[in-house]
């Protein structure tokens, strides 16, 4: 049975879902002139109403614990339960951010150690955990890039070089940080074209933003050359940590020459995506940039941890109200302790093994535009047989009928029918083999019964949606529905 009620539609006047102690203190009335003259139209429901409602709503979602989730560039790995339990300990959740320093040493230890372990893993000197998400980390990183050049009196460096295969967030972050993005065409495999890069390197370049491996899963083998070219031109290298997973314990962005990077704890370090947040996007920098990190700064001394609210005179400033998403980095910290030094390289190795295995198992029926070894993810450019008219979108929707989350589709933009597959390290060979079987059966069905594939999905709670209708006639709240 499909549950389609909104919480407002099960509201019954007079019901309530909370309790309060008997009042012991006399009522105080605020001045009438400051009060609203109506009552906010919130629903009135019992506790069981709420529990049933959101439980039924939850059934309309697809989580990692249900099935395979090979979303490229999103690293949908298992979110361990112990992480959740540890971050929920009252000794962490009940701490006010302005408590005296000596009453929050445990939390400060977690902050400091997490950033220190990230430094070790990435080869950069120091991290801040204050940034809330990957995009937030990018913004902070680019602010640091700009602040660095300005601190040297170099005000004309405004250009940020971004490959055309990059995610749209990269150029958007550059604009928001007051920089200008300059797109460079990439090679067919999405790697940087060194000659094209040379052509744009001048004394106006602030830096370059790269993911490595890139969005097609290809390691930038000229990275040392690229780093030298950019540094020689006076620019800095920014590492977008979206694809860090296949390098864990294998190679470090800092050693490659990157000066600034962000990490998505909700990708590489197993914290849940939560349907779109909260994430955490720590930003790491090399030694010469540490003083630009945002404030407040958590510091370690012999006598314990302290918080420097003012930061260095060169700090880019404050970018969050407090100290970032503690509830998230507590989970990443727990994960790092669980995985440990000895297993870290296997995260990289097995995710890479899984991706190459899928690639080799399907390339006879799906078009593989980039031959050769990939890292943790790779891209197909639609079906090999294009005559059926079955598009990538159809394949994605058909996968839904087999209880599998589709891969990332239509990204990177450099491939018209891109299907970007990332099978994280904790997926077993059995799960992966089933995915391969399903992908092959869809390819077969595309030839035998293309209309069937184009009409998918069939087993989901709703079918394909009219997105144009939603955008032309925006209904964005319950009241709009009532007025319709």
């Amino acid at each position: 049975m499909y549950y389609d009620k909104l919480i407002f539609e099960i509201s019954t006047e007079g019901r309530k879902g909370y309790t309060l102690p008997t009042p012991e203190i006399k009522r105080y009335d605020l001045p009438e002139t400051l009060l609203r003259d109506d009552c906010p139209g919130l629903p009135e429901v019992s506790e069981l109403d709420v529990v049933r409602h959101y439980t039924n709503v939850s059934f309309k979602n697809f989580g990692i614990e249900k099935g395979f989730y090979p979303l490229g560039s999103c690293t949908m790995k298992y979110n361990p339960k112990i992480n959740q339990d540890m971050s929920n300990l009252p000794g962490f959740t009940s701490i006010h951010p302005y408590q005296p320093i000596e009453t929050m040493q445990g939390l400060l230890h977690v902050y400091y150690e997490t950033q220190r372990m990230l430094s070790e893993i990435s080869g950069l000197d120091t991290f801040t955990l204050n940034s809330y998400a990957g995009a937030h980390g990018e913004l902070v990183g680019l602010m640091i890039m700009k602040a660095y050049h300005e601190s040297r009196g170099d005000f004309k460096r405004k250009k940020v070089i971004v490959p055309d295969s990059a995610h749209g967030t990269n150029p958007a972050s550059a604009t928001v940080a007051g920089l200008e993005s300059v797109e460079v065409k990439s090679n067919k495999d999405g790697t940087v074209n060194v000659n094209d890069l040379k052509a744009v390197l001048d004394d106006e370049v602030a830096g370059i933003m790269l993911t490595n491996p890139n969005t097609a899963g290809i390691f930038e083998k000229d990275i040392l050359t690229i780093a030298k070219l950019v540094h020689d031109a006076g620019g800095l290298l920014y590492y977008d940590g979206a694809n860090l997973n296949p390098l864990l314990g294998i190679a470090r962005p800092g050693d490659m020459g990157f000066d600034i990077m962000h990490i998505n704890l909700h990708k590489t370090f197993s914290t849940p995506h939560g349907g779109g947040g909260p994430g955490s996007g720590p930003v790491g920098v090399n030694k010469k940039l540490v003083k630009f990190l945002p404030k407040p700064v958590i510091e370690k001394h012999e006598e314990g941890y302290t918080i420097d609210y003012d930061g260095d005179a060169l700090t880019i400033g404050q970018i969050s109200h407090f100290y970032g998403n503690a509830g998230v980095y507590l989970k990443a910290y727990t994960y790092l302790l669980t995985i440990g030094k000895e297993n870290l390289p296997n995260v990289a190795r097995y995710s890479t093994l899984n991706a190459n295995y899928i690639k080799e198992s399907l390339k006879d029926v799906y078009h593989l535009p980039i031959e050769g070894v990939c890292k943790h993810e790779f891209v197909f450019d639609g079906l090999k047989d294009k005559s059926t008219g079955v598009k990538t979108l159809d394949i994605a929707k058909r996968l839904l009928d087999f209880d599998m989350h589709p891969p990332t589709v239509y990204f990177p933009l450099t491939f018209k029918e891109a299907i970007m597959i990332e099978p994280p390290e904790n997926e077993s060979k059995q799960t992966i083999d089933r995915f391969i079987d399903v992908m092959r059966s869809i390819a077969k069905e595309a030839i035998e019964n293309p209309e069937k594939v184009k009409g998918a999905p069939y087993n989901t709670v709703v079918k394909r949606l009219d997105e144009a209708l939603a955008a032309r006639n925006p209904i964005v709240k319950y009241k709009d529905l009532l007025e319709q």
Binding site: L20, I25, E44, N61, P171, G275, Y350, E360, V476, Y478
Partner: protein, 443 residues
């Protein structure tokens, strides 16, 4: 073998065979040798039992105190069922709702969240949430500047200084000029707004209840701003909106704030959740996700991310904001909170905060060591002058298990003897009485 890594020797062998290489390291052959195998100083893998011990030890080396402080993080009551519901794997482990057919759960609660935020604020449209209240305010500044094509913003001195800091950071790099508007008797001075406002101004940012706890009165603000077509941005604690006049009623073009006050645990400052709401007129300039209603091919009602042409993945370098995700799970948290409280509860719960705060103020003013500073009405937070040594006071309170008021000396040279208290519905009369008697003992 590790519990998160399932491959057996046989699995690996079979997979390598399919790929056509002899060992896994061959898959990393293109990485320059000089980069490989650096020693990394992180601990060895720990078992669950060891982690329990370690984390419990760390948690117990924090000392929870009973807060009489707010300053952006408030100790409100969290109904027990919220955590159980938001930790359902369907919500917790799902990706951003890009595949709407299997994300109707996330999309539906975002729609409910938007509906509730618009009910509280009186605005026409809300997005799916922002990182926190401070960044939401900074994003509102970007939105106003983009809309008006101006690069100057006014910010009231009564706005929480941490929010001002974030605004200034965002403004500095984007090339926006921030001009502070003076306060008068603890609220934004309209006269100062008039003097600072000019044709180059994109908008004004104010906060109510403000940093000192005072409730601001925005009569005549809108008309003043309209003279220069400047946008009115109000940052307001959403938990006060069961009582107080809405941003819409004051004429706000953009309403923002932090929903931490809707039952979200203190958690050392995060994760919290910002909100942003605006009028239909500016809907297409708003950053972040927005969920709308549509139909599927069978005509069934369904939810979908909409107005995506605003967003960074489409606009790229022309986007007004680089924000991708939101604080989705926290949006679910506060949606459930608002559903449980309902239209009566949101008023009743905060009436207790109001009662408690005024009871505390009255008791403190009976002590010789405290006196009133501002003649303004307040909600759950208020500022007093104290003759006590502030460090001694805070230390004494800490010894008894209380987290004292916020000293304002860090934020303003002329406020070295001012302290700001916050009291929520969670404080019992017994706690408040004990708190007062500790302070009374110092006088």
């Amino acid at each position: 073998m590790h519990k998160y890594l399932p491959h057996t020797h046989e699995d690996i062998k079979a997979m390598l065979e399919k790929i056509g290489v002899n060992d896994i390291d061959a898959l990393f052959a293109e990485i320059p040798k000089a980069l490989l195998n650096k020693d990394i100083d992180i601990p060895s893998s720990m078992s669950e039992l060891e982690i329990f011990d370690h984390m419990n030890h760390l948690a117990s080396s924090n000392k929870p105190l009973i807060p009489f402080i707010g300053a952006g993080a408030y100790d409100h009551y969290t109904p027990s069922i919220i955590r159980h519901l938001i930790e359902r794997q369907e919500f917790l482990t799902a990706y951003t709702p890009y595949q709407p057919e299997i994300s109707q759960g996330t999309l539906q609660y975002i729609f409910e969240f938007q509906s509730m935020i618009t009910q509280l604020t009186g605005m026409d449209v809300s997005n799916a949430s922002m990182y926190d209240g401070a960044t939401a305010t900074a994003e509102a500044m970007f939105m106003a500047c983009a809309q008006r094509r101006k690069d100057k913003i006014l910010v009231s001195q009564t706005v929480n200084p941490n929010i001002v800091e974030v605004i200034k950071t965002y403004a500095r790099y984007k090339g926006i000029e921030v001009v502070m508007v003076a306060e008068k008797e603890g609220i934004t001075d309209l006269e100062s707004v008039r003097l600072t406002l000019d044709s180059e101004t994109a908008g004004l940012i104010v906060q109510t209840p403000n940093f000192y706890g005072n409730i601001e009165n925005y009569s005549e603000f809108k008309a003043t701003l309209d003279e220069h077509k400047a946008l009115f941005i109000i940052n307001q604690d959403p938990s006060t909106l069961g009582h107080l006049k809405t941003p819409r009623a004051w004429g706000a073009d953009i309403a923002v704030g932090d929903c931490q006050t809707l039952g979200v645990p203190l958690s050392f400052g995060g994760p919290y959740i910002g909100y942003m709401a605006t009028t239909t007129k500016y809907m297409r300039k708003m950053p972040g996700r927005i969920c709308g209603v549509t139909k599927d091919t069978d005509g069934k009602r369904a939810f979908v991310l909409t107005l995506q042409a605003r967003e960074q993945h489409i606009r790229r370098e022309k986007a007004n904001s680089n924000i991708c995700s939101n604080q989705s799970l926290l949006a679910l948290f506060v949606t459930i909170y608002m559903a449980l409280l309902g239209k009566k509860g949101v008023y009743e719960v905060q009436q207790r905060s109001i009662d408690n705060a005024h009871y505390l103020e009255e008791a403190l003013l009976k002590l010789p060591s405290f006196e009133k500073v501002y003649p303004q009405p307040f909600f759950k937070e208020f500022t007093l002058r104290t003759h006590l040594d502030i460090d001694t006071m805070l230390k004494k309170l800490e010894e008894k298990g209380y987290l004292g008021p916020l000293p304002l000396r860090r934020y303003a040279n002329d406020k070295t003897d001012l302290v700001t208290f916050a009291v929520t519905e969670k404080r019992s009369k017994k706690q408040i009485d004990e708190f007062v008697s500790i302070l009374g003992g110092l006088s």
